[in-house]
Amino acid sequence: MDIELRHIHKRFGPVHANNDINLTFLGGRIYGVLGENGAGKSTLMKILSGYQPADSGSILLDGTEVDYRNPQIALHYGVGMLQQDPLDVPAFTVLENFIFGAIGARGYRGHAAARLLREVCSRFGFELDPDTPIASLSIGGRQQLEIARLLALGVKTLILDEPTTGISAEQKTILFNALKSLAKNDGLSVLLVSHKLEDVIALCDEVAVLRAGKLVGTRALPATPSELVALMFGQILEPAQRIAVNLDNAAEAIRFENVTLRSKRLQVKDFNLNVRAGEVIGLAGLDGSGQELFLRACVGLAKPAVGHIHFEGRDMTGASFRQFLAAGAAFSAAGRLEEGLIAGLTLTEHTALMTEHHPVIDWGRARQRTINRIQTYHVRGTPESQIEQLSGGNQQRMLMALMPESAVLLALEQPTRGLDVDSARWIWQQLMVRRDIGAAIVFSSPDLDEIVTYSDRILVFYAGRVTEIPDARQATIDQLGRLIGGHNEEVPR
């Protein structure tokens, strides 16, 4: 289906989220819609798929102007969107979700629906059991279900919002193959909203780049990442400077001695590691391969089943999270609003929680401390802002600001999750400052570039097995990819 967007405007209060956007998408091609956080790409796609109305402007499908106020009507015209967090009902089974919302007379008993689901699944290699509850599927599985559902509804345009966040490499391959086939064989127009340049380069025929609500350019691929970054930011970002640090005489921050960690699903067995002050250790691996467990063990959130953990030389095996914090560890979870910050509390209240230790809070002092942190960390917000009103990047800045300056060890779960390139770089500048004053940093990331760029050493996790790359500067993306996939024969531990 050919889509034409004409003079699309959308405002949220003072923010001009879409400013006079004109774009054409042709059937049979895959488009990348690129932009940093807040560039307006999600808004534009929500307008196109009926989730939000535009303030003004028109949408033409195959040359005919359409007007839709909700996603159902958009679907009726053949435009379907896969949300970043798939919009399904977790309490339903796969089949119930597949049927729910279907137009026409397909009965609820759904033998026909089950057959249709099987057909779509077998064509694209999706593995979906109709009776599985959604709550027990991975994000990748839920995505496959949504795609299958939208295809069964007859979409001719498929929009995907950040589809590669949180899915495994294998699921990503399946997804990309499916999208390519849909464009090539079925003539669908596929729109991929992403800020992962490598995904866009791997998949798309053409990109449209938004910046601050405006369309700043379109371009046919192939292109190099730096060319796309230039379009996105109007400048080429230099990779962060790597200064080799001499750690030979550095003090020990945390040491794992024959540690075995167990969780419900896996175990990290007989593990030894010595992290020194000023050292950065990157943890690579697919989600759930053991790196989360390890990070949590660094701060007492997971207790070793066997072995000892020494923190600055002190045996802290089995100590509580509270004791680790007191000893100088700090932790930030991937789910910022779920585990790190408290929605509904203001920035000042967050500061007070961390710094005020008397029974009666000195609000004036807490507020002053908050103002200092806002200035130091360039948080876009006021002491009275509630934390959930801040953007993801600013939440992460605040989270950093709340980590005590004197921290000996920072254990960070995906510290730049969901941030644009610029915010991520800024976060890392701050982390490097922390490192230079002697903090050890252990972090996990799904972004291999980030791991290779900032780590001194890399630990690759695969199903609880750990492989160490002693010098991150020698690591190649290729080698890491193999290790993450479980091929570690050639690199003995």
Partner: protein, 344 residues
């Protein structure tokens, strides 16, 4: 029918009827994401208004020379309708307060339940302790001939027969129809329902009203059948809270809700039997507490892993069915608001 055990069992079914109806109504409302905490007040107020409507009509008709039996036949359905209207109105008030006025459902429900009881006592003063029309048991053709079960289940009033239909009807609607799918989705994830073309708030009004009407019907079942008449203080006060607890105990599933209602009525009957039996000395307070303790223990069993592990022993086909029956998670969007403008 002389058997005292059969008598007891029959009375358990009778006494459980309003609990069954109210709890099924609340199940439907909560499945759509609205929590109607005003159950107790609704039951009391609708019991009073239902009785007053039926009584007034009955008096007017017999005064006009109509035969008593015919007048009762006309008066009771009218009383029931009035009671259902009152129940629906209270539930709709909660829906309006939540959807249009952005108020907390729990807070509004709590206030309305207090208001309902007091209003009923105030407005019903003149009708207390006067005899009025009462729905009598109807011997159900054919089915009442079944040995034992016929005596227990099919010599009941119309309210009880209605409750049977409701149990299966609610189950069928919730789990076997596409409208039921939409109803559950609205209470589980309204964003997803909206994306599939469902008018979330319209459905919430609909099922709040429908569930509330059933709560009103439960009130009528008290004042026109099992506790016929009106008293001050209201003799069914407190049962609304029990129905709310039964919904939770029943895991928002009609079959389990019914089980909970019968279990509760059974334990109550047991308590009164024990009380009447000479030679057994148990504090009445202890007996009254037994149903609650039992409910808590059952809830703990269901939410612990024990049941889940036992399920794995079942054949695969039965597992899904059993899991559905034993599910005890509340609807995920229960008590929340949905704003279609924001799509969230």
């Amino acid at each position: 029918m002389a058997d005292p055990l059969l008598n007891t069992l029959e009375s358990i079914v009778t006494n459980a009827t309003p609990l069954v109806i109210a709890a099924i109504g609340e199940t439907i409302t909560e499945r759509a994401g609205i929590v109607n905490l005003a159950l107790d007040g609704s039951i009391v107020l609708s019991a009073m208004t239902g009785f007053v409507a039926a009584y007034s009509l009955n008096t007017a008709l017999t005064g006009g020379g109509m035969a008593v039996a015919t007048a009762t036949m006309l008066a009771i359905p009218v009383g029931v309708l009035v009671a259902m209207l009152v129940g629906a109105l209270i539930a709709l008030l909660i829906a309006v307060a939540s959807i249009e006025l952005n108020q907390d459902q729990v807070a509004i429900g709590f206030v309305l339940t207090l208001l309902g009881v007091d209003l009923a006592v105030f407005l019903g003063t003149n009708y207390a302790r006067i005899p009025g029309p009462q729905a009598l048991p109807i011997v159900f053709p054919v089915l009442s001939q079944i040995p034992v079960a016929g005596d227990i289940f099919f010599k009941q009033s119309g309210f009880t027969y209605l409750s049977y239909a409701l149990i299966f009807g609610a189950w069928y609607y919730l789990f076997q129809t596409r409208r039921g799918l939409a109803l559950r989705a609205v209470g589980e994830r309204p964003e997803a329902a909206f994306a599939r073309g469902v008018s979330v708030n319209r459905l919430r009004y609909l099922y709040a009203g429908l569930g509330g009407a059933l709560v009103g019907l439960a009130g009528a079942a008290y004042s026109l059948n099992i506790k016929a008449g009106w008293t001050t203080p209201p003799n069914m006060q407190g049962d609304g809270w029990i129905a709310l607890a039964i919904v939770i105990f029943g895991g928002w599933h009609p079959f389990r809700v019914v089980l909970g209602a019968y279990l509760f009525a059974g334990l109550r009957a047991l308590a009164s039997v024990i009380q009447r039996t000479p030679g057994i000395e148990i504090n009445i307070m202890v007996l009254n507490a037994v149903p609650w303790v039992l409910m808590i223990v059952t809830l703990l069993l269901v939410s612990s892993g024990a049941i889940e592990r036992a399920l794995l022993l079942l054949p695969r086909g039965a597992q899904k069915w059993a899991r559905n029956i034993l599910r005890s998670d509340p609807p995920a969007a229960l008590g929340t608001r949905f704003d279609p403008e924001r799509g969230s």
